[in-house]
Subunit: 471 residues, 2 copies
């Protein structure tokens, strides 16, 4: 454990005083000078601490009078509850990642920025006509709808089962659980099946590092190296794998953030060894439908003959994230268990969203939409590759992804990536620096899915300029 | 702790053998006779244990050959993970409640039953025309939609804020968090704010007992008596209230399951005392819009001047549960904190559902729909009261609810409620026995919202017959 910075120690000390009732609600707190003297720090440190407590709603400033303890029990509970304090300390020991992820999330809704970061289809790829046509049909056929079944709409599960067959996966509707996106699927697995304190192996870099998921359940994340062929198996299997409290999380197809796809040979080997070592596998396969050059290798799930793999899919990347529709597939007992946990969480996904996706699938409009998406993604990927060749051929390396949204660009020169990120943001360009995925080379995840060609061009030129200014 | 029944002990022992690898995956297990001898029990006890393990996917029977250890790592994890085992033991020590709740949930989708249990509007009250009209408008105006803001659609929050004003509540859109139903609101509060091991005070009886919510977070539930005026305050405040690790969960308006509404005077007193004792309050107010005779007293939230109350509302009871749209309102810091937790859970609610509700509210169609709902609920409530008068005036007591869905009928004679419940179910009638809400008088929660008048009549006669046969 690193040392907790002074301003956080002061904030926590004040929090405890309020919590224990030593500083009574509604009362004025000592002056900044007094607190500074007590802790032997600068006033600016005290001001930082007080700002944190104000943002938590514990203190309030009254102009011309001083700082008072707020009369708000929920704020107190909320700030003294363990998850919050834990996050604050995490933030303290790893200020970079969480803070920058927060900033990226907040910036993604800004219309004035060029978004070379955003992992979703751009407005040009939103299926306007298909959704409109489907919604009209859904509206006309809509009957009264109640809480529904724990697994999700049966018709939708049947359509997903049929769709998975086109990828060579034979998964019955009873083995599918509809969820509100891949994140919820992971959340359900983490609270419903894995034990607290489990070890989760994952790729290095991994998208998972940028979300607060398994960390929140006190799990240990162990990063495994990835090369051009995907996860390096020897790296994985040289680790001690604790029996029954470990799992492998893997995104083998059009990997986020590196764009890599695992070869078929390695997939076969991975499944074979995971089976013999009894290491369960969570396969995050949300980009599968978004192949560009040729259909990807068979999923791990297809190669898995013993229910070793829980498979996760989603329509967030292929239709629209706001639908909040994804699914997970696994052995029936596991799916049943997760559906129970799910029913204790939020009683299922929006029926309206489920019907819309079902209609898009059953009408064939989804497949039609995918054809257009793939063609456009090819154009956009090739355009971004062309821009990189033009502007970065001496300064960076990258691989051509065979599908998905992302190109991982690794700069040749060492550069302060925090400074580069902020410098770009100040110049209206949003990029995802590799370190939020625990990629500590000077790398950037660029997305070709969201921005227009014009924005990409402007963005790449802006990026180059900012790199030069920050070397 | 009560003693764990033998069949669960055997199941757990077998689970451990598989878990530790003592019984190898794919191998045949000892015969039932051998196990029975080892544990000195009847074969039927062993069969029960094996059935449990089969249902968990740990064992499989191969006809004519015997019972084998299944080769499935996820099933093993899933069954040996702590929540499952905990539930199993809970089930063992309180077999009645959880088992019956499960049975009720499963039976609620059966079309062949008379549902005097179901806490949702019947097909006759589903707003067909309003939803169709609104969906057509939503479809025509729909633009591309992404992940959206952590708090939920701004326009919807503005509409909810405006709607709450009609109930005298001044709540700014920034203080509202859109959630996927009231259950999710409670879940977010329980994992995001309350501490593990907190004490949650709640009404006796309470709907909360029928869901596995605070229990799952190791919280202690303390039941407080309710009379015709609502929660009995002296009962609450005679308890020791542990500072900063307690909250009051309360459903003061058209209470589920008792139908009671707390008087204004008592509300004022409650808020005053909760404020001075610094006991935070969770006000579950999902039935407010469904008043029948006159608008209900002001909400606790309205009386609360210091952010003591987190307020929960929903459209599940007034429009349709399948929308999965509800909200919570509280101090801005608390709402912000819960919205962060929420974004780490499932990235928000269906945008489509949000737009539909927004349109229903802004067009005035929601208010129009409520007028019809209130008029019909009055007819249906009065009809059920009439049936009770006709058939139960000598055998039971009840109060007339001023709104909501439920009448709590307390039988005068002692009767085995488990047997009555099952007997009714065998005669195609589904009722909610009071004990699932920890109401240990011989009581039944009847809903007049779902069934038609004809079904109610048939149901009440059937109920009377079954009571007679089970006395």
């Amino acid at each position: 454990m690193k040392k907790v910075p002074m301003y956080l120690q002061i904030a926590q000390s004040i929090r405890q005083k309020i919590d224990r009732g030593e500083w009574v609600i509604g009362s004025k707190i000592p002056t900044q000078r007094e607190i500074a003297e007590q802790f032997q720090v600068n006033r600016s440190t005290v001001i930082t601490a007080i700002d944190i407590l104000k943002s938590e709603g514990l203190l309030e400033g009254i102009t011309g009078s001083g700082i008072y303890v707020s009369n708000n029990q929920w704020s107190l509970l909320s700030s003294s509850s363990p998850p919050n304090w834990k996050e604050l300390t995490q933030w303290a020991t790893q200020p970079s990642s969480d803070h920058i992820v927060q900033l990226i999330n907040d910036s993604e809704s800004r219309k004035d920025l060029i978004q070379l970061s955003k992992g979703e289809l751009g407005p040009d790829l939103y299926p306007h006509a298909e959704i409109e046509k489907s919604l009209i049909k859904v509206t006309a056929q809509l009957q009264e709808f109640g809480y529904g079944n724990g697994l999700g709409d049966k018709g939708l599960r049947e359509e997903i089962s049929r769709h998975l067959l086109t990828h060579g996966m034979e998964i019955a509707p009873e083995n599918i659980l509809i969820v509100s996106g891949a994140l919820q699927a992971l959340k359900l697995i983490s609270i419903g099946i894995l034990k607290k304190g489990s070890t989760v192996f994952l790729e290095s870099p991994s998208y998972l590092h940028s979300i607060n998921l398994f960390r929140a359940e006190d799990m240990t994340l162990k990063s495994i190296l990835v090369d051009r062929d995907g996860l390096v198996l020897d790296e994985l299997f040289q680790h001690y794998i604790p029996k029954h409290s470990a799992a492998l999380y893997i995104n083998p197809t059009f990997h986020n953030p590196s764009g890599t796809t695992m070869s078929t040979k390695r997939r076969e080997l991975l499944i074979e060894r995971c089976q013999s070592l009894r290491l369960p596998v969570i396969e995050d396969d949300i980009f599968r439908d978004l192949w560009i050059d040729r259909p990807p290798p068979l999923s791990l799930k297809t190669l898995d003959k013993h229910g070793q793999v829980i498979y996760i899919g989603s329509f967030s990347k292929t239709i629209a994230p706001g639908l909040r529709i994804g699914w997970l597939a696994g052995p029936e007992t596991v799916v049943k268990r997760l559906s129970d946990v799910r029913m204790q969480t939020d009683y299922g996904s929006s029926y309206l969203s489920q019907l819309l996706v079902k209609e898009l699938l059953s009408s064939g409009l989804y497949e039609k939409h995918l054809l257009r998406v793939r063609a456009r993604l090819k154009e956009k990927r090739d355009f971004l590759l062309h821009l990189l060749n033009e502007h970065f051929s001496h300064d960076a390396t990258w691989d051509k992804p065979a599908g998905g949204f992302f190109i991982r660009v690794v700069l040749k020169d060492k550069i302060n990536m925090h400074r580069l990120f902020k410098s770009c943001l100040n110049h209206s360009l949003l990029i995802n620096p590799g370190f939020i995925y625990r990629d500590f080379t000077p790398s950037i995840r660029l997305s070709f899915a969201y921005a227009t060609e014009r924005e990409m061009e402007e963005g790449i030129i802006q990026l180059k300029r900012n790199i030069k200014n920050n070397l």
